[in-house]
C-alpha cells in the first residue's frame, strides 16, 4: 500500500483546510494592513524636543517677527509674533512657508563663471580688474533691492571709494521716502494702484487697521485690493493723474465728475486721509489733504538711504553691475538691465541664491544664502513711522560655499570685517545712540535701549529675536515726501491698440507647497496667463483658453488667454508686466 497521488491530494487539501483554523492566515492578513499603514515611501516626520525660536522675516521690507516651532534644530512651522509693532502677529502666506525656500529647486550652490564652477577668488579678481578697467564715462553700479540695511551702508562705503559708481535700487524700494505712514490714525486712503490690502507695508499692520479705514482704490485692474476696497474707481492706465487732479479740484470746492466728487466727499468725511501713488498730482493731493507731517498722515523718520532708481540710470552706461537678489520679492527685469549696460563686454555679477532671473545672464554667480540660512538683518519695517532694525538669526544649517552679498562686497573692498561684524557695529551704534526701545519677541516686552546694560546685551537680545524702534521725530510740516515717478501714460498706436498692465503676480520663488495650493485653489492666475475682457478677446480673434502672442514695444511673449468679464475692455492683464501699449494675437 504505497503513497498514491490521490493520498497526496487528500493530504494537501486537508492541510489547506486545517490551516484556516490556525492563526497563521489571520496574522498574515493583519500584517498586510500594518504594512499598508506605513506604506513604503512615507517619510517619518523629524523627531526631537520641540522648541520655539525667534527670528525676523527678510523676504520683503515688512520685517515681520517670526516665531519658529522647531523639532530639534529643524523649524517645522512658522507663525507671527503676537504684539510685534510692525506685523501685529501676522505673517503672509509666503512668510508662513519661508522655511521651505531653502529646499526649492534652481538654487545656486557654488560660485559660477558662465555656468562653470569657479573659485570665489577668481570672481573677486575679475570684478576688481573690470572696475579698474572702467572708462571715464562708464560706471560701476550695485543693485540693492532693499536700501537702508547695514549691508546698504557697506555697499555705499565701497562705492564711494570708486571714481563714478552708483547705488541703485528698485523704484518702489522706499515708497514714502523718509516718511512712514501713521496708519493707526488714518481714516481714509485714496490709493492709485497701490496694493494696499495685498502686501503693502506690513500686511498685519494694514489689516489690523482696516476696520477704521475707508479705502478708495483707483486702478484699472479689479485687483484683490480693488475687490475689497470700499470704492473701486476703474481708470484707464495712465489716467490716474487726471483723476487725482479732479479729486484735488473737488476737494478745493471746484467742479468735478461724479466719481471724483464722491471720492473727495469720502476723504473729507474721514480725515485724516492720505493719497498713495506716484506723480505730482498725488503729491498735490496730499498737500491739500494736509496729510504730510500730521498724525494719521505721512510722518518723517530718521533713517533714509537715498538710492538711485535703476530706471533713471542713463542707458548703456554701466560697465560693472553687481546685482543683489533677495530670497523673496520681485526679481530685477533683465530687459531693463540690458538697456543700462555698456554695449562692449560689461561685467554682471549676480549675488543671488537663485540660478534663474538675472543670474541666467550674469557672467559670475556668487551663491547667497536664502532666508533662515545665515544671520541676516531687516531694516526699518516698510512704512514705519520710526526707524527700526532687527536681526534675522539663522534657523537652518547653511550648506556652505554660500557668501552673503555684503560679505562679497566687503572682500571686494579688501575689508577684513565680516558681515556679522558689520551687524554688530550697527547694534553697538544703536546702543551708543541710546534712543528708542526694543521689543523682544519671546516675552513681547518693550525695553528702552538706554536701560540695556551693554552693547553685548543688546546684541544678545537682538539675536534672541527682537526689533529696535527709534523714537518718533517731532512732526515737522516743512517736509515733502519724495514723490514717486508718475505712472507714465500709455499712448496707443494702430500697431499696439491695447494696454498691457500688471496682474497680481505669484512670487518668483516660493515653497512648492504654496504654489501647489495657489494653483489648485485657482487663487492666483498662472504666471503666463493674459486676462482680457471677452469682448476685447473676441475682437482680437481669440478664444477663452487659447494660446496667444502678446507684443509690446519692449518685446513679445506667448501667453494663455483667459476671458474674464471683470477686466476693463481694451486691457490685457499679465502678471509682472510694466504698463505699456501692446497687441495680442492668436498663436
Amino acid at each position: 500500500m504505497g503513497f498514491t497521488r490521490r493520498d497526496l491530494l487528500k493530504f494537501s487539501g486537508g492541510s489547506a483546510a486545517g490551516l484556516v483554523f490556525t492563526p497563521v492566515p489571520w496574522s498574515l492578513l493583519h500584517d498586510t494592513a500594518l504594512w499598508s499603514e506605513n506604506w513604503p515611501g512615507i517619510p517619518q516626520p523629524p523627531q526631537g524636543e520641540v522648541r520655539t525660536r525667534y527670528t525676523t522675516c527678510t523676504l520683503c521690507p515688512a520685517g515681520c517677527g517670526v516665531r519658529a516651532r522647531c523639532a530639534g534644530d529643524q523649524p517645522v512651522s512658522l507663525s507671527g509674533v503676537p504684539g510685534h509693532p510692525a506685523s501685529r502677529g501676522a505673517l503672509c502666506a509666503a512668510g508662513l512657508v519661508g522655511h521651505h525656500l531653502a529646499f526649492c529647486r534652481d538654487r545656486a550652490r557654488e560660485p559660477l563663471a558662465h555656468g562653470h564652477p569657479v573659485a570665489i577668488e577668481r570672481a573677486l579678481a575679475a570684478v576688481t580688474a573690470a572696475i579698474a578697467a572702467c572708462g571715464p564715462r562708464e560706471t560701476v553700479a550695485l543693485f540693492d533691492p532693499r536700501p537702508g540695511r547695514a549691508a546698504s551702508f557697506v555697499y555705499r562705503r565701497f562705492l564711494s571709494g570708486l571714481p563714478n559708481a552708483v547705488h541703485c535700487a528698485p523704484a518702489d524700494a522706499q515708497p514714502c521716502g523718509p516718511f512712514g505712514v501713521d496708519l493707526e490714525n488714518t481714516r481714509a486712503i485714496l490709493s492709485f494702484g497701490t496694493p494696499v490690502l495685498d502686501g503693502w507695508l506690513s500686511p498685519g499692520r494694514v489689516l489690523a487697521n482696516r476696520s477704521h479705514l475707508r479705502l478708495i482704490q483707483v486702478e484699472a485692474a479689479y485687483s484683490r485690493t480693488a475687490s475689497l476696497a470700499d470704492v473701486w474707481v476703474p481708470v484707464v492706465p495712465g489716467g490716474e493723474d487726471a483723476f487725482a487732479e479732479a479729486v484735488a479740484r473737488a476737494l478745493q470746492g471746484g467742479g468735478a465728475d461724479e466719481r471724483a466728487a464722491e471720492a473727495a466727499r469720502l476723504l473729507l468725511q474721514n480725515k485724516p486721509a492720505i493719497a498713495l501713488g506716484g506723480g505730482a498730482a498725488v503729491a498735490k493731493l496730499n498737500a491739500i489733504l494736509g496729510s504730510v507731517g500730521q498724525p494719521g498722515g505721512f510722518l518723517p523718520r530718521r533713517d533714509f538711504t537715498p538710492a538711485t532708481d535703476i530706471a533713471t540710470v542713463p542707458d548703456g552706461s554701466i560697465r560693472v553691475l553687481l546685482i543683489e537678489e533677495g530670497s523673496g520679492g520681485r526679481p530685477l527685469s533683465w530687459d531693463l538691465v540690458q538697456r543700462k549696460l555698456v554695449p562692449q563686454n560689461p561685467l554682471v555679477v549676480a549675488l543671488t541664491p537663485w540660478l534663474d532671473g538675472c543670474a541666467q545672464h550674469a557672467d559670475y554667480i556668487i551663491p547667497a544664502p536664502v532666508y533662515l540660512e545665515s544671520l541676516d538683518e531687516a531694516a526699518t519695517p516698510a512704512g514705519s513711522v520710526a526707524a527700526g532694525f532687527s536681526l534675522s538669526p539663522a534657523l537652518l544649517a547653511s550648506p556652505g560655499k554660500l557668501t552673503p552679498p555684503a560679505e562679497f562686497v566687503l572682500r571686494l573692498a579688501q575689508d577684513s570685517a565680516s558681515y556679522a561684524d558689520v551687524l554688530k557695529d550697527r547694534v553697538t551704534a544703536i546702543r551708543k545712540e541710546g534712543r528708542g526701545s526694543i521689543f523682544t519677541y519671546a516675552d513681547a516686552k518693550s525695553t528702552r535701549v538706554a536701560e540695556i546694560a551693554s552693547a553685548a546685551d543688546l546684541w544678545k537680545a537682538m539675536l534672541g529675536g527682537a526689533v529696535w524702534l527709534d523714537d518718533r521725530l517731532p512732526t515737522a510740516t516743512n517736509l515733502r515726501p519724495g514723490a514717486l515717478p508718475a505712472p507714465e501714460s500709455v499712448e496707443l498706436t494702430p500697431a499696439y491698440p491695447l494696454i498691457l498692465i500688471a496682474a497680481d503676480d505669484p512670487p518668483a520663488h516660493a515653497s512648492p507647497l504654496m504654489s501647489k495650493l495657489y494653483r489648485e485653489s485657482g487663487l492666483r492666475r498662472p504666471a503666463n496667463a493674459a486676462i482680457v475682457h471677452p469682448k476685447t478677446g473676441r475682437g482680437q480673434g481669440l478664444q477663452d483658453g487659447c494660446r496667444a502672442i502678446v507684443s509690446s514695444p519692449s518685446g513679445t511673449f506667448t501667453v494663455q488667454t483667459i476671458f474674464d468679464p471683470a477686466v476693463m475692455p481694451g486691457v490685457i492683464e499679465v502678471a509682472g508686466r510694466t504698463p505699456s501699449a501692446a497687441s495680442i494675437r492668436r498663436a
Binding site: 492578513l29 498586510t32 494592513a33 504594512w35 499598508s36
Partner: protein, 412 residues
C-alpha cells in the same frame, strides 16, 4: 480516435471545431490581457491612473458594478421562480442564469477591488463594520451571494462529461442538487438586500439632493426601486443572452415557449417598477428636493443632462418595453421580444448611469461649476477586461458544460 476536446463536451450537442473556438476566444483573451494590464497599473501605481478625482470620486467602475449586478439579478430571480415557486419551465435556462450571475458578481467584485484605494484592507469592512452604512450591507451581501453562486456553479461544473466519471463528484453533485432550494432561498434573501442597498447607496446621500430620497424605516425609496428594477432586468438579460448565444452558435437552445415566458416575467415586474418610479420622481420633484433648498428643474439645467434623460428612462426604456412584453402577440415575435428585452437592459444601465454620473456631475455648492468626467484608458481597459472575462467564462461554460438541457433534444 476522439480528441480530448470533444471528450469534454456534453454528448448529443454539436460545438464548433477547436479551431473556430480558438479564433473566437483569442480576441477576447487579448482584450482580457490588455485590461488586466490596465488594472495592474491602477493597483501598482495607484488610482492616479484613472481620471476620477476628488469631485468625481466614483466613475466608470461603479457604474459598471451597479449595472452588471442589476443584470446578474437573473440568477437569483430565476432560481427563486424555479426552486421556490416551482416554475419548472425555467429549468431550461437556470444553468445559464447561474453562470451569468456568477460572471456578473465576480466581475463586479474584481472591479471593486481595483476601485478601492487600499485593496489590502478589503477585510476591514468585516472587522469594523459600520452597520448603518449601505455599503457595508452591500459588501456583506455580495460576498455571501458570490459564495452562493459559486456553490450553485459547482454542480454544473461537476456534471461535465469528464468530471462526472469520478463517482464521488457525481454523488456530491447529486446530494447538493437536492439542497438547491435552500441555496435559492438564501440567494433570494441576500439579493433582495444588496440589490436594495445598492439603490440605498445613493438614496441616503443627504448631501446630494439629486440622489437623496425619503423612504420607509432605514431604507430610502431607491432601495425598493432597485430591487424591483433588478428583478425585471434579470430575466430580460437572460432572454437576451440566450437569444444571442443561439444566434452566435446557430443552435436552438430552448423550447420556443421559454423566451416569451421570460419576457412576460420581465414585463410583469417592469410595469409596477415604472409606476413606482414615476410616483417616486413626482414626490422628489415636489417635496423632497425643494425641502432641501433645491428646485428640481435646476438639476436638469446642465447640458447634456437635460430633462430628456428622465423621460427616456421612464417612457422610452420603461413604459414602452413593458407594454411590448405584456402583449402576447408581440411576445410571440422574437424580434419584438429581443427589442423589448434590450430596451429593458439599456434602461437599467441608463438608470444606474444617471445615479452614478449625473449625481456627481451636478454641483451642490452655489458657487460651484458643473463638472465633466471622461474615463482614462486604464479605466476603460479594466471595464473591458470584466466584459472579456465574462465572455470567456461563458464561452467555456457553454462549450464544455450543459447550460441548456433542452439543447440535445432540440438538436436532432
Amino acid at each position: 480516435m476522439p480528441d480530448a476536446d470533444s471528450q469534454l463536451m456534453p454528448r448529443g450537442v454539436r460545438r464548433s471545431t477547436p479551431r473556430q473556438f480558438l479564433l473566437w476566444i483569442l480576441p477576447w483573451a487579448a482584450l482580457l490581457a490588455f485590461g488586466l494590464y490596465g488594472a495592474g497599473l491602477c493597483l501598482v501605481k495607484g488610482l492616479n491612473q484613472t481620471h476620477m478625482d476628488n469631485r468625481f470620486a466614483f466613475g466608470l467602475w461603479i457604474f459598471l458594478d451597479l449595472t452588471v449586478i442589476a443584470l446578474g439579478a437573473g440568477a437569483f430571480f430565476t432560481g427563486f421562480l424555479l426552486y421556490i415557486l416551482k416554475k419548472t419551465e425555467l429549468k431550461a435556462v437556470i444553468n445559464s442564469a447561474v453562470v451569468i450571475g456568477f460572471i456578473c458578481y465576480s466581475g463586479a467584485v474584481a472591479a471593486l477591488l481595483v476601485d478601492v484605494g487600499q485593496p489590502l484592507r478589503f477585510w476591514f469592512t468585516f472587522w469594523h463594520p459600520n452597520v448603518h452604512s449601505m455599503l457595508t450591507e452591500v459588501t456583506f451581501c455580495i460576498t455571501c451571494y458570490l459564495t452562493v453562486l459559486l456553490i450553485e456553479y459547482v454542480p454544473i461544473v461537476l456534471k461535465n462529461r469528464k468530471l462526472r466519471q469520478i463517482p464521488s463528484f457525481l454523488v456530491f453533485e447529486f446530494e447538493l442538487h437536492k439542497l438547491m432550494p435552500v441555496l435559492a432561498g438564501v440567494g433570494t434573501f441576500l439579493s433582495f438586500f444588496h440589490q436594495g442597498s445598492l439603490g440605498g447607496l445613493y438614496g441616503v446621500l443627504r448631501g446630494r439632493p439629486f440622489a437623496f430620497r425619503e423612504g420607509f424605516a432605514i431604507w430610502p425609496s431607491t432601495f425598493f426601486l432597485f430591487i424591483l428594477s433588478a428583478a425585471a432586468a434579470g430575466p430580460a438579460f437572460i432572454l437576451l443572452t440566450t437569444w444571442l448565444v443561439s444566434k452566435i452558435s446557430g443552435k436552438r437552445l430552448v423550447r420556443p415557449e421559454v423566451l416569451p415566458l421570460l419576457g412576460r416575467i420581465s414585463g410583469i415586474l417592469l410595469l409596477p417598477y415604472i409606476l413606482l418610479k414615476s410616483i417616486d420622481t413626482l414626490i422628489w420633484i415636489n417635496s423632497t428636493s425643494p425641502a432641501r433648498g433645491f428646485a428640481a428643474h435646476q438639476f436638469y439645467a446642465w447640458k447634456p443632462f437635460g430633462a430628456w434623460i428622465l423621460f427616456a428612462e421612464i417612457v422610452g426604456f420603461g413604459l414602452l418595453p413593458a407594454l411590448i412584453l405584456l402583449r402576447r402577440r408581440m411576445r410571440e415575435s422574437t424580434a419584438w421580444l429581443v427589442f423589448a428585452a434590450s430596451l429593458v437592459c439599456l434602461g437599467i444601465a441608463l438608470n444606474r448611469f444617471v445615479l452614478t454620473i449625473q449625481t456627481l456631475a451636478l454641483p451642490t455648492l452655489p458657487f460651484d461649476p458643473f463638472l465633466s468626467y471622461l474615463p482614462s484608458w486604464q479605466e476603460t481597459a479594466t471595464f473591458l477586461a470584466v466584459v472579456a472575462y465574462g465572455v470567456l467564462v461563458y464561452s467555456f461554460s457553454f462549450r464544455y458544460l450543459t447550460l441548456f438541457p433542452q439543447e440535445k433534444d432540440l438538436s436532432c
